[in-house]
């Protein structure tokens, strides 16, 4: 098992060369990062190349990096992360690409390559507002009909913006601004690197 990520990374390096923005093996998992412009093409090669055979898209998720490590984030804000699996070779790969524009994040859709991406991209669009170029049916999926905003963005409060209740006078369910007081029981703390070091029990 342990030799596999190294073997795979060698293949990927020779295949993509400079088009890989980064390649890292960490905790036995291989992650590559590519520019948004190369993303679709590289995904296509990963799927179709007979030596790679990533025939299955296991997962696609959006990530908002804006408050990473409790510090202002320097790079681009939104990323789309693919988890690919090759049933033939029994290896996994993580492919990440950042959207160029933070205010209008657009990433190519991979629905053509893996039909499974359809709903995953709808989900990432719904929760993060990432637009998938080439997706034929980019509707919201998890949130309510008529929902405003993208709830998993870091600037979206956990309690949301609106709440709903039954209004006896109007005799229907109405939306109103939330009455929940935001509360954080345990603050989010980033300690120095060696603090929670499990090696020093």
């Amino acid at each position: 098992m342990s030799a596999k990520p190294e073997l795979l990374s060698k293949v990927l390096r020779s295949l993509f060369g400079k088009r890989l923005k980064s390649l890292a093996v960490s905790r036995g998992e291989l992650t590559i990062e590519v520019a948004a412009a190369d993303y679709f093409e590289i995904a296509r090669i990963l799927r179709e190349h007979t030596g790679l055979n990533f025939e299955q898209l296991i997962d696609l998720s959006g990530v908002d990096y804006s408050t990473y490590a409790n510090k202002p984030w320097q790079g681009k804000r939104f990323a789309s992360v693919l988890h690919l699996l090759s049933v033939t070779h029994n290896w996994r790969l993580r492919l990440r690409t950042f959207a160029e524009d933070d205010d209008f994040p657009v990433i190519d859709s991979v629905c053509e390559l893996w039909p499974a991406a359809n709903w995953y991209e709808r989900e990432a669009f719904d929760l993060y507002g990432i637009l998938y170029d080439g997706h034929t049916d980019l509707r919201r999926i998890l949130t309510d009909y008529g929902f405003v905003g993208h709830p998993l963005r870091k600037d979206f409060p956990v309690s949301g913006h609106v709440e709903m209740r039954y209004d006896a006078e109007a005799k229907r369910v109405i939306y109103q601004p939330v009455t929940v007081e935001p509360r954080e029981n345990t603050p989010r703390i980033v300690r120095e690197a060696s603090y929670g070091d499990v090696g020093h029990a």
């Binding site: 098992m1 960490s26 905790r27 998992e29 992650t31 025939e55 299955q56 898209l57 296991i58 997962d59 998720s61 990530v63 908002d64 990473y68 490590a69 409790n70 992360v81 988890h83 049933v87 029994n90 996994r92 993580r94 893996w114 039909p115 499974a116 359809n118 709903w119 995953y120 929760l127 919201r140 999926i141 998890l142 949130t143 309510d144 709830p151 998993l152 979206f156 956990v158 954080e184 345990t186 989010r188 703390i189 980033v190 300690r191 690197a193 603090y195 929670g196 070091d197 499990v198 090696g199 020093h200 029990a201």
Partner: protein, 420 residues
């Protein structure tokens, strides 16, 4: 006026409150007579924002949320989450905990499949099925209760191991107006010893129960008419659509993470992977049935190992797992550890991992990003049901509306994990 104008597709709204919708599925069906032209599932009616909530809780606090994802296979969800945290931390789980996890994963698999088979039967006309399956499910629920106190939402797996060792006694039925001395004795017969004794008795009884289920369904003409040739998926298509678990194996792809990428103690137990041939609802049913028998085998092996090998069930690293309660009462160091662990929480080193397990429904994965804080930066839950339901449109096209119900049953949908 030609007659052509009169022909129109009919749009039907199935659910969200429908007994066959397995929860809260809203399915908008476009029908031509009784034939489905297009199926558009609307999900999210059970969306609770688990991923967002996990970002605002410490690493340990999110474990109970995992139970509530797929509420038919609770401990498996916890397992994937704990594996992700352990992988980030780089801790090694004690071997006894691995075996306990393997055993309870398989118990969970049987619980899930019993639920799935029972309700699948109920949906397409085999009423009695659920009465039989829930009889055995009850016993396994009791095993859950014995080990963690809760029948469903266990929170038994913890990062670093499991909460506590297996109990020496089983809860027993008490006398009441409805149970006389004789029934009571019968009911409590298997519960006199420890949990392992109870489970051993179960593993001996269970193959016969499986035979009973098979008598009801496998050669049943009505059951076969409703499932054979319905929702056929080719192996290539199943892979492209992101199918995993019995949905993929039903199409003949022998892919099982327990064998291919073993975790816990799966590399040390002996079992087979059942695969289907035709990729229809009937083959997937057969796969699930055979899987239960295999799970039973694994449980038997785990019981034998657990009897022989006592040992710790959670890591002895107080940055990850709390110290023993007795020690905590008399030792300052341990008290501080306990306090810090339950107030501030575990500090997980920076990095990202994807941990996947063979959940009863398919591959359940947790993609965790840590920025070095006491809370996750991002948790993405890869639920197996999500891509399965996404393929509903493709599978239902051209089938009759009654077959949609069979498809919902065969996908084994649970909205807790699809909507998250």
């Amino acid at each position: 006026m030609s007659a052509m104008h009169e022909i129109r597709n009919y749009t039907l709204n199935l659910g969200p409150q429908h007994p066959a919708a397995h929860g809260v599925l809203r399915l908008v069906l476009e029908l031509d007579g009784e034939v489905v032209e297009r199926a558009d599932p609307h999900i999210g009616l059970l969306h609770r924002g688990t991923e967002k909530l996990a970002e605002t809780r410490t690493w340990a606090q999110s474990v109970p949320y995992m139970d509530r994802l797929d509420y038919c296979s609770m401990m498996c969800n916890e397992h994937a989450y704990c594996l992700a945290v352990e992988k980030l931390l780089g801790v090694e789980v004690p071997e006894r905990a691995r075996y306990i996890r393997t055993m309870f994963d398989e118990i969970t698999r049987i619980i899930n499949h019993l639920m799935s088979l029972g309700s699948h039967g109920l949906d397409i006309g085999a009423m009695t099925m659920i009465l039989y399956t829930f009889r055995e499910r009850e016993d396994l629920m009791d095993a859950y209760e014995a080990v963690c106190g809760a029948r469903m939402h266990a929170a038994y797996y913890r990062p670093g191991g499991v909460y506590r060792d297996l109990p020496d006694s089983m809860p027993k039925y008490k006398a009441s107006r409805f149970k006389n001395e004789k029934t009571l004795k019968q009911l409590n017969a298997a519960r006199e010893g420890s949990l392992l004794d109870f489970l051993e008795d179960f593993t001996k009884r269970f193959p016969k129960c499986c035979d009973e289920y098979e008598t009801l369904l496998t050669e049943n003409r009505i059951w076969k008419q409703r499932t054979v040739g319905i929702g056929v998926v080719s192996p290539e298509r199943a892979l492209a659509l992101g199918f995993t678990g019995p949905m993929l194996r039903g199409s003949g792809v022998a892919w099982d993470l327990r064998k291919k990428q073993p975790y816990a103690a799966y590399d040390k137990v002996d079992f087979d992977i059942p695969v289907g041939k035709n990729g229809d609802c009937y083959d997937r049913y057969l796969c699930r049935m055979a899987e239960m028998r295999q799970s039973n085998r694994i449980i038997g092996q785990c019981i034998a190992w657990l009897r022989e090998n006592p040992g710790p069930v959670i890591v002895d690293n107080h940055k990850v797992a709390p110290p023993r309660r007795e020690k905590m009462k008399g030792n300052m160091e341990e008290l501080i550890h306990h306090f810090k662990l339950f107030s501030e929480g575990i500090h997980v080193p920076e990095g990202e991992v994807y941990a996947a397990i063979e959940h009863p429904k398919g591959e359940f994965g947790v993609y965790a990003i840590s920025d070095g804080a006491n809370k996750p930066y991002r948790i993405k839950l890869r639920s197996p049901g999500f891509p399965h339901l996404a393929a509903m449109d493709e599978l239902a096209r051209g089938h009759m509306i009654a077959d949609v119900v069979a498809l919902i049953g065969t996908m084994d949908l649970v909205f807790g994990d699809i909507d998250r």
